[in-house]
């Protein structure tokens, strides 16, 4: 099933990897919102609902990261998709989880120009708690995929979201987890993410969205990004790490508000009210 009826599918080769993209427009035609997924994900897996919601208002480009041994390789993939699919139109870059770290690097390095940046459940520098979890992940990956599916599901989603599932739905959520071909490399890359030295070079207006009960990338990391990126605003939502799955409508609203007007109406340093509806 296509992610959106209007999306044109294509691919670019970057350093031996193939990166697939889904573009609801074409180069030069409209400022795109570019969506970069997280570890082991895809445009469909992480933006299934947010993509079509955004596509009703914006040109949207989703991409499926190709295989890469290094963080730099992933950064190049995103830069290349943007270079190929745009001329000079302003780009709003949205990164989720590992995608947020990649998007941060893309924005800081300016090989392509990023007009606005949104970082969802992101982090700048991997800490020891994350590393301990990655260690367990690799052990379970080698020994017991079912246990890994349960573990990953419990770590991904917020308590409220999990609580609301019936036992059958919870099991279905666990069973639906798959391990993509590039996931092991991406988990290795996660161990040593460090873009902390580049944050001062991020000058694009930035929106940081953190999940209050995120156990994978605790919200402290989003708060630190908010502290480090000068031109940033902060929104906390009551989700776990799977923010785009747990609260897609609110994530959509935050991105849409920000891309359309927020940099003008909300100053750097502002904390957004996410409780009102």
């Amino acid at each position: 099933m296509k992610i959106h009826p209007d999306a044109v599918r294509g691919s670019v080769g970057v350093g031996g990897a193939e990166v697939t993209y889904y573009d609801t427009g074409r180069p030069g035609a409209g400022s795109p919102v570019v969506l970069v997924h997280g570890t082991g994900g895809s445009a469909m897996a992480h933006f299934r609902t947010v993509f079509p919601m955004l596509a009703a208002r914006h040109r949207v480009i989703g991409l499926d990261l190709g295989r890469a041994e290094t963080f730099e390789g992933l950064v190049s993939q995103v830069e290349e998709v943007i270079a190929v699919r745009t001329f000079a139109e302003p780009v709003a870059l949205v990164g989720y989880s590992l995608g947020a770290a990649i998007a941060t690097a893309v924005a800081a390095r300016r090989a392509v120009t990023i007009d606005k940046l949104v970082l969802i459940c992101g982090w700048a520098k991997t800490d020891s708690v994350q590393r301990a979890r990655y260690g367990l992940w690799h052990r379970l990956y080698a020994e017991d995929h079912d246990a890994l599916k349960i573990f990953s599901t419990l770590m991904s989603f917020g308590q409220t979201y999990l609580d609301a599932r019936t036992p059958t739905d919870l099991r279905a959520l666990i069973d639906a987890r798959t391990f993509s071909p590039g996931i092991v490399e991406q988990m290795r890359i996660n161990e040593n993410v460090d873009v902390s030295g580049e944050l001062e070079y991020v000058v694009s207006p930035t929106l940081i969205i953190g999940g209050a009960s995120d156990q994978m990338v605790p919200i402290k990391h989003s708060r630190l990004l908010f502290g480090a990126i000068e031109n940033s605003r902060f929104a906390e939502i009551p989700t776990g790490h799977a923010a785009t799955t747990e609260r897609p409508a609110q994530v959509f609203k935050l991105i849409d508000d920000f891309v359309r007007e927020l940099p003008h109406t909300t100053p750097a340093g502002a904390v957004l009210d996410t409780a009102a509806f």
């Binding site: 296509k2 009826p5 299934r48 609902t49 079509p52 009703a56 019936t166 959509f252």
Partner: protein
């Protein structure tokens, strides 16, 4: 004449969620010179009238409540009708609105006078004058009986689901339920165990998803009391979960298919493959009509005394219903569960604006109103739950509250301004409606291949539903700005609107 009342600042027609909600806000703003005219002898509107067996809400109760009156004591996720009615009664009592309601006062006509800028409302309880007249009578309040030949000749009992006769004993009776909408799926499983024989007459099968209802525990209820933030958090979760559902219901094949599969799997898990399941399988795109929630409707058809009839009804005779195949279904009772007059609102046939223009005439090609509340030619008149206020996916109380925010400010403006009058320009109203129309294009309601009360057959316009997120309803329609009512500005664009489902350019 003692039957002459007023002048009031505001007369409100209707004491349901909308009327009580508006009155509460007026009270809290210190605007106390108002009266509510209620045609029945109690508050509660649709929740007073619809007391049929099994009546309950299918929006979670913590969301289907006033924002200003959270209720930690809801017994279930989806509270039953009695409890919702009691909630509205308590609201009226505790907000000191009870003594501002004239019961048994049905609005027969309301007419604007240009001469003195006054509304004159003639009711069954006397004549009222007011500077502002508000219709809060709802859009699902006037039962629609099926137009079936010979129905008056039926020897047994006939009633609409909204006029349920609680004293009538159904045990041992042969009962027909006509219709398979939101009321029917609650009635059928509730009466099936009691009646001798139950035949459900279906024109088109509804999509039905699971209804994850349960009782709240004592611990949860006291937690909501002691930690109000836990209740507020629950309410936010429910709101945003419903907003996600909106996106599922239009436009995107992958999302539409996901919810369609969920509904069909629900059916398959309850009804074995075969002719019965085939008859219960809808033949149109999901979301085109309201998606219903029930866990006990489908299983009711597995009972020996319950049958589903899909052959069209031809006529009613003295002893029962005759279907197109010539069969006569012998009956003691016919329950018309056939919905409400939502497209051509009965109140519109009673409201006369400038130059005695009838609202129903103004709307003869379908309803429209600026910000869903104001109509050109009808000064100092606002309507709650009028055009484009239905939501297929979220709480109608939220919608009414959004309108009330706008209306309370508009009323304050009228009462404070020298002119004492506010009327939206026709150009503004038309431009607004054109934008709503353009949002509707390509939606499942217009293109989904079904007949529903969402669309006005006279113009094929989507006049009853808001074709976007609930949050955008509030963003677009709540803000009041008197300047924007006028013709002398170019701000006819709906600012801040985020239509979804339209194809990006």
């Amino acid at each position: 004449m003692s039957n002459q009342h007023g002048p009031y600042d505001v007369v409100i027609a209707g004491a349901g969620f909308a009327g009580i909600g508006l009155a509460t806000k007026l009270r809290r703003e210190g605007l106390n010179n108002f009266v509510i005219l209620e045609r029945a002898d109690d508050v509660g509107g649709t929740w007073r009238d619809n007391h049929y067996p099994g009546a309950a809400c299918d929006v979670p109760s913590h969301l289907y409540s006033f924002a200003h009156r959270p209720n930690p004591d809801w017994s279930h996720i989806f509270a039953p009708q009695k409890e919702i009615l009691e909630y509205i009664r308590a609201s009226a009592r505790e907000e000191q609105i009870d003594d501002r309601i004239e019961f048994n006062a049905e609005v027969l006509s309301a007419e604007w006078s240009d001469l003195d800028s006054v509304w004159t409302i003639i009711s069954s309880a006397g004549t009222y004058t007011a500077r502002v007249f508000i219709s809060a009578v709802g859009h699902l309040s006037d039962p629609k009986m099926p137009a079936i030949q010979g129905i008056e000749s039926f020897a047994g009992k006939v009633f609409h689901s909204a006029n349920w006769d609680d004293d009538y004993e159904l045990a041992g009776k042969r009962v027909a339920v006509i219709g398979t909408g939101a009321s029917s799926v609650q009635i059928v499983p509730s009466i099936a165990p009691v009646v001798e024989q139950l035949t459900v007459f279906q024109r088109s099968a509804p999509y039905i998803t699971a209804r994850p209802d349960r009782e709240y525990t004592t611990a949860e209820k006291r937690m909501f009391h002691r930690l109000p933030e836990t209740l507020a958090a629950q309410r936010r979760d429910m709101f945003w979960a419903n907003e996600e559902r909106y996106a599922q219901r239009r436009g995107t094949p992958s999302l539409v298919q996901a919810v369609q599969s969920a509904a069909l799997n629900h059916l398959a898990s309850q009804i074995p493959a075969g002719p019965l399941r085939d008859k219960l399988t809808p033949d149109y795109t999901i979301g085109c009509k309201r998606i219903l929630k029930s866990d006990d409707y489908f299983p009711a058809f597995l009972q020996a005394n319950v049958s589903l009839e899909t052959t069209p009804i031809v006529e009613v005779v003295g002893s029962g219903i005759r279907t197109a195949d010539g069969a006569l279904h012998e009956l003691d009772v016919i329950v018309a569960s056939t919905g409400f007059e939502a497209v051509d609102l009965p109140i519109a046939h009673r409201v006369y604006g400038r130059g005695r223009e009838l609202l129903a005439e103004r709307w003869n090609m379908g309803m429209q109103a600026y910000a869903t509340v104001a109509v050109n030619g009808f000064p100092n008149f606002w309507i709650i739950n009028g055009p484009n206020t239905g939501l297929g996916h979220n709480s109608s109380v939220y919608v009414a509250e959004a309108q009330i925010e706008h209306i309370v400010e508009a009323i304050s403006h009228v009462l404070e301004s020298a002119a004492g009058m506010l009327e939206v320009a026709r150009a503004v109203e038309d431009a607004y409606s054109a934008q709503v129309d353009s949002m509707s294009q390509g939606t499942v309601w217009l293109d989904g291949g079904c007949r529903s009360w969402y669309v006005d057959a006279r113009s094929n316009r989507l006049t009853t539903i808001w074709p976007d997120f609930a949050f955008s309803f509030r963003e677009v329609n709540s803000p009041f700005d008197a300047e924007r009512y006028g013709d002398d500005n170019s701000m006819h664009e709906i600012e801040g609107i985020r239509p979804i489902g339209q194809l990006a350019q």
